[in-house]
């Protein structure tokens, strides 16, 4: 499993710091050009009036999915899957969502929003999110039992459908997302 491409590059710490910054630069540039770092655009999405955020996310997912699974099939990359449980993947993200609706930025877009001068993204976004993360570290020992409820590991939808060939899930899934995007466009959203 360890014969993926470019392991020599992966192991060079400072080169990786540089690459991380370059990739981040591209990420921030794209998010800002996509207008998804604006409070009004994000709230427009959450009020189901402006679908910019979903268009960006879904087209990133389709593009990324096809490339990553193709490179995985070629043995170039390995997956980085996060495991979950009902105790982690439902309550935490729901709390995140409530905060997302009030703050109007997620962690990445709050950093991008500061860059165009949104100071509520600095005080609420960066400061508030760090306080929240610190609070979580403080209560973490008391949550340990909840986190283990209904554990399902790092399984993927491919595992869930018990598909022997991953493309039997990837292709219909990508088609479904593209269909959804076409539907959004035809509805004029």
């Amino acid at each position: 499993m360890d014969d993926i491409k470019f392991t020599k590059i992966h192991n060079r710490k400072y080169l990786q710091y540089g690459l991380g910054m370059i990739f981040g630069f591209a990420f921030g540039f794209l998010l800002q050009k996509g207008r998804v770092c604006y409070y009004d655009v994000i709230l427009g999405q959450l009020l189901l009036e402006d679908f910019t955020v979903l268009k960006v996310m879904l087209s990133a997912i389709v593009t990324g999915m096809i490339g990553i699974y193709a490179m995985k099939a070629a043995g170039w990359v390995k997956l980085h899957k996060k495991s979950g449980s009902l105790g982690t993947s439902l309550p935490g993200p729901l709390i995140f969502g409530v905060g997302f609706g009030i703050l109007g930025y997620c962690p990445g877009t709050s950093v991008g929003a500061i860059a165009h001068g949104s100071l509520d993204a600095l005080i609420g976004g960066v400061f508030g999110i760090m306080v929240g993360a610190g609070l979580y570290a403080a209560v973490y020992p008391r949550l340990e039992r909840v986190l283990k409820i209904g554990s399902f590991g790092d399984r993927t939808l491919i595992d869930l459908f018990r598909a022997r060939n991953p493309w039997l899930v990837i292709v219909p899934f990508a088609a479904l997302i593209i269909l959804g995007l076409i539907l959004i466009e035809t509805m004029g959203l």
Binding site: G28, K33, V62, T63, I68, G132, I158
Partner: protein, 175 residues
């Protein structure tokens, strides 16, 4: 040449162009850094590092920080780059404006900076707390996890939007 410059100074690109760009970017981070795009861990690391500065080394003994060592790492550099990239984009399109209260908020709740700031901090605390509890945010789960078809990420992103849509409707349609 001017065509390229016009693209760079544009204030809005097609969301599909941006999405495909982020997808290709994620190929690059997997291939050259063996790392998915993700943002919220860098916030947790920063919180840990600041807390350590303020309260001393006993902070590092907390179970959460023992399992997730706070340090400057690849993802931290990614977030630094994210800021610089967004700054470059906004500077090129000349769209940098100092603003405490977003226009949509102001239209419904007025221009009071204190009210917006308190709401934003409360929202931010929930975002940070929930991101750690759910092990990721709209980048780590919402893009990187979903594109790998990971179940925990799809559940998380559905809950992000359920919570977000619910809260947005409460704020703007009920209050």
């Amino acid at each position: 040449m001017t065509a390229v410059l016009n693209i760079l100074t544009d204030s809005a690109w097609s969301p599909y162009l941006v999405g495909v760009g982020i997808g290709i970017l994620s190929w690059s981070t997997f291939l050259f850094s063996n790392h998915p795009l993700g943002v919220s861990t860098a916030f947790a690391n920063s919180a840990g590092m600041i807390e350590k500065k303020l309260r001393g080394p006993r902070v590092a003994a907390k179970p959460y920080y023992r399992e997730n060592k706070p340090a400057i790492d690849w993802e931290w550099m990614l977030v630094l780059g994210l800021f610089l990239g967004a700054l470059a984009s906004a500077a090129l399109s000349e769209t940098i404006r100092w603003e405490w209260v977003p226009s949509m908020w102001e239209a419904s709740f007025g221009s009071n900076v204190v009210v917006r700031s308190i709401a934003a901090i409360f929202g931010g605390i929930c975002v940070g707390f929930g991101a750690r509890w759910g092990r990721g945010c709209t980048s780590g789960h919402g893009i990187s996890g979903t594109l790998q078809l990971v179940l925990s990420s799809w559940l998380a992103v559905i809950c992000f939007f359920l919570g977000g849509v619910g809260m947005a409707f409460i704020i703007y349609r009920l209050l």
